[in-house]
C-alpha cells in the first residue's frame, strides 16, 4: 500500500510549488526583520532586537514567528503533503509508527499531518504530545494522548535550533514511556545552513528533515517585507 502511495505522490508531485507558497507565506508573515533605523531597546544598538525579545544575548536582526504558519490550516495542509512524500520515501514499508511532539507548538502540525495521512491514504496514525514539564496535579503525567509503547515515534516540530525540545522529547520517550524514537525528525525550519542536518548525542544521530533552512531566507530589512509582531507596540 505504501509503495502504491509513493507512485501516486511521484505522479502528482507539486513539491516545488508548495515549497514556493510556504516560502512566500513565511517571508511575508512569519519573519520579523528589525528596522535598522529603529531603536528597540536603549541598551541595544539600533536595528537589533534585544535579549528579552529573542533570547539571544547579543541581539538579533530578525525573529521567526512560525506559529502563524502552524495555525493556518491551508499552510499546514501543504506542509503535510511535503512531509508525506518524505515519510513514504524514508519508510516505504513501515506502517506501524506514531507521531509525537512537544506542547503546544507542534499540536496543530501533528493533527494536520495525522488528518492528511488519513484523508489521502487512509493511514491511521496515533498522535501524542509531551509536555515541557510534568503536570503538577492529578496523574502527574508527562504526556497528553494515548501512547503505544510497541510503536516507534516520529518527532515533529516547527523549528529546530539547539535541539533542546527534541532531546527533552527523546528522554521522556525512552526513559519514562519506553518508546523508541525514530532516527529522523521533521521540521519546518532549521536554524543551520549546511545540509545534511543531524542532531547528535552519545554517538546517536538523528537526521533532521526540514523544509527550509537558515540560508533560504533574506534577513535584511525591506519595507515591502514588513512583518508585524503580535502586540508590536513598544518592543
Amino acid at each position: 500500500m505504501y509503495l502504491e502511495n509513493l507512485d501516486f505522490i511521484k505522479d502528482n508531485d507539486h513539491s516545488d510549488a508548495l515549497v514556493g507558497i510556504l516560502h512566500n507565506y513565511i517571508d511575508k508573515n512569519c519573519l520579523f526583520r528589525a528596522d535598522p533605523g529603529r531603536s528597540y531597546d536603549k541598551n541595544f544598538p539600533r536595528g537589533k532586537l534585544p535579549t528579552r525579545l529573542t533570547g539571544n544575548t547579543e541581539g538579533m536582526k530578525y525573529l521567526f514567528l512560525l506559529r502563524r504558519l502552524s495555525y493556518n490550516p491551508v499552510m499546514t495542509t501543504y506542509l503535510s503533503m511535503l512531509w508525506m512524500k518524505k515519510l513514504i520515501e524514508l519508510f516505504p514499508n513501515e506502517e506501524s509508527f506514531q507521531l509525537g511532539g512537544i506542547e503546544s507548538s507542534s499540536i496543530p502540525l501533528l493533527i494536520a499531518f495525522q488528518k492528511a495521512l488519513e484523508t489521502m491514504f487512509e493511514i491511521h496514525v496515533n498522535v501524542f504530545t509531551v509536555m515541557k514539564e510534568r503536570k503538577d496535579y492529578g496523574l502527574f503525567q508527562f504526556t497528553n494522548g494515548i501512547v503505544y509503547p510497541d510503536k516507534p515515534v516520529l518527532f515533529i516540530d516547527d523549528m529546530v535550533n539547539s535541539g533542546s525540545s527534541f532531546w527533552h522529547f527523546r528522554d521522556v520517550c525512552e526513559k519514562e514511556l519506553k518508546v523508541e524514537v525514530l532516527p529522523h525528525l521533521f521540521s519546518i525550519m532549521i536554524m543551520h545552513a549546511n545540509p545534511p542536518f543531524y542532531l547528535e548525542r552519545d554517538d546517536q544521530f538523528y537526521q533532521v528533515h526540514s523544509i527550509f533552512n537558515k540560508a533560504d531566507f533574506d534577513y535584511d530589512f525591506k519595507v515591502e517585507l514588513l512583518t508585524t509582531m503580535p502586540g508590536d507596540v513598544n518592543v
Binding site: 529573542t54 506559529r67 502563524r68 490550516p73 499540536i107 493533527i111 488528518k115 492528511a116 496535579y137 502586540g231
Partner: protein, 211 residues
C-alpha cells in the same frame, strides 16, 4: 434544518462518544489519592479529554457535528475560531482540516495563551486574528467556565467581538438538557456536542462513580 444523515446518527454518536470518554479519558482512584490543583483537594477520578482530541476518527465526527450545528446559526464567512492553548489546538485544527476535506473554506483561527509569553513579543494571542470577523470560542470542556472568561477578556482587550455562543465538546455543568446553559460570567449560552448527563448515563453501571 437537520439533514437526514444527522437525524440518523444523533443519539448514537453521543452514546458512543460518552463510552469512549469513560473508557479512555477517565482515570479512577477509589481511595481519592489523586491530588487536585487546590491545596488539599483529592479526586476519585480525573477527566482529561486529550485521548479524544488526538483521535482522528472522533475528531472527524465532532467536526461534522460542529459544522452541522453552526450551519443555521452563522454565516461562515463572518466568523473565526479561537480557543485556549493547548486543548483547543487539536479541535480547531481538526475542524479546519475537515472543512478543507469537504471542500469548504476553513475558518481563520487564533489561540489564546493561558498567560502572556514571558519572553519575545509577550503576546497573549498566537496566530493572526482577523479584526473583521466575529470570534467563536471553542474549548474541549466547559467546566468552571473560567477558561471562557479568560478568553473573553483577552478578546475584549484586542477589540475583537465574540458571537453570543461559546462551544465545547463536553459541557460538564449539570443542567437539564431542555434548558440552555448560560455562562455565569458573560451570560453567553454554551453549546456542546455532549452533555455531562450523557456521560453519567454511561457511568450509571460503574461501581466507582458516586455522582
Amino acid at each position: 434544518m437537520k439533514s437526514h444523515n444527522q437525524e440518523e446518527t444523533e443519539g448514537v454518536v453521543e452514546t458512543e462518544l460518552a463510552k469512549f470518554i469513560v473508557k479512555e479519558c477517565m482515570t479512577w482512584s477509589e481511595d481519592k489519592t489523586m491530588h487536585g490543583l487546590a491545596p488539599g483537594a483529592r479526586y476519585s477520578y480525573i477527566l482529561q479529554l486529550a485521548p479524544l482530541l488526538m483521535n482522528a476518527e472522533w475528531m472527524n465526527a465532532i467536526s461534522f457535528r460542529f459544522n452541522s450545528m453552526i450551519q443555521s446559526m452563522f454565516d461562515s464567512t463572518t466568523i473565526q475560531l479561537a480557543g485556549g492553548e493547548p486543548n483547543a489546538l487539536p479541535i480547531i485544527t481538526a475542524i479546519n482540516a475537515y472543512r478543507i476535506r469537504c471542500g469548504l473554506e476553513p475558518f481563520p483561527a487564533f489561540w489564546i495563551r493561558k498567560e502572556r509569553k514571558n519572553y519575545g513579543p509577550h503576546n497573549a494571542i498566537e496566530g493572526k486574528p482577523d479584526p473583521d470577523r466575529k470570534v467563536l470560542l471553542f474549548y474541549d470542556m466547559a467546566n468552571s467556565t473560567n477558561t471562557f472568561a479568560i478568553a473573553e477578556r483577552v478578546c475584549d482587550t484586542h477589540g475583537l467581538v465574540i458571537v453570543p455562543y461559546n462551544f465545547a465538546i463536553l459541557n460538564k455543568n449539570n443542567h437539564y438538557q431542555e434548558e440552555p446553559y448560560k455562562d455565569k460570567n458573560s451570560g453567553r449560552e454554551i453549546k456542546s456536542i455532549l452533555e455531562w448527563e450523557d456521560v453519567k448515563h454511561v457511568l450509571g453501571e460503574s461501581r466507582l462513580y458516586k455522582g
